[in-house]
Symmetry: C5
Subunit: 87 residues, 5 copies
């Protein structure tokens, strides 16, 4: 998993029916000291994150777990909002 | 997930029988400001995208979800057409 | 998915029993203009591809789909022979 | 799988309900000679690892296996503490 | 899949109970001409490979297939010993 900052939103239409209602956010991965690292990507949000917040996201099929039994065709998902990083 | 531009088509034959009827598009991943980034790849289309359009795609087994119960052997799939990116 | 050229064969023994009979080919990923890009890898063939042919391959568990119900331990599979690339 | 050193902890809230109770550690991948290599990431711990320890971790859906039948949305998991590396 | 050379062993303890008995080897990926390429990683062995041998390995959940029905939390597995590479 990685830490990222929410930097925008994406509106997608038409989309696969299993994506209906999905909130798609543009996120920028961060280092532990919260500097940008790597390329921005799009993640589906299941925790109510907003632009400017630092989040915790997973990649892969695991990103669809919060939406079961819907088989959402997503490969990145925000599963938490970062409270603190201690290192 | 990532944003990409459809830049071409690929015709493949003979192919695995579960790929029959699949529309295969060549796509170029884009940054949030829609500049090309990374290497082009081939994705299966399930939303009717065409050359020149900006799309939203997923990687991995998730790309086959729109085709269930067919177990399509694909690892990248277009699941939406981009309307707007706000960042 | 990506386009690649078949550049050789690999003989592997002893191997996992679920790999028995698998044809293993060495492939070099290509750009849309068919120039080599990235590192060669080994893929299992399910379409009868041969050295010198340009193929279409998938990565991940999807590569084992053509061999169901055998759970073949492979992570790259050739699923088509490229006819044409238009871009 | 890779070897990594635990370099910190991450506190995440609110989070997906299937992540409740998960211990999230910041880890730095290491070379076989235990030098840092690549980018730090966050992994869920199932073996009681602590900051400063060298661990063994897996990526992908496999990271959720120790938590079955809970479908924990994680993509990296610590599954052992390194005793010795001989090479 | 990729070709790699076994360059060492890793001893891990305590580990997830589904890893009990797993033989963990340190492997260095190779090019088709058997030169080192990329970073070493740890793979579980299911074919009796030893240090100095050239092997064939898979990444991802597929690495756990040889151990079914045990859901071994591994993401790289040696599934064959290389006899010859012809290219």
């Amino acid at each position: 998993m990685q830490i990222a900052r929410v930097i925008g939103t994406v509106v997608v239409t038409p989309k696969d029916s299993n994506l209906t209602g999905a909130k798609l956010l543009l996120i920028q991965p961060l280092t532990p000291s919260r500097a940008p690292v790597g390329k921005p990507l799009v993640a589906v949000d299941s925790v109510g994150a907003g632009v400017g917040e630092d989040v915790f996201f997973v990649r892969g099929k695991e990103a669809s777990f919060p939406f079961h039994p819907v088989e959402m065709p997503v490969d990145a998902g925000i599963v938490g909002i970062v409270d603190s990083i201690n290192c």
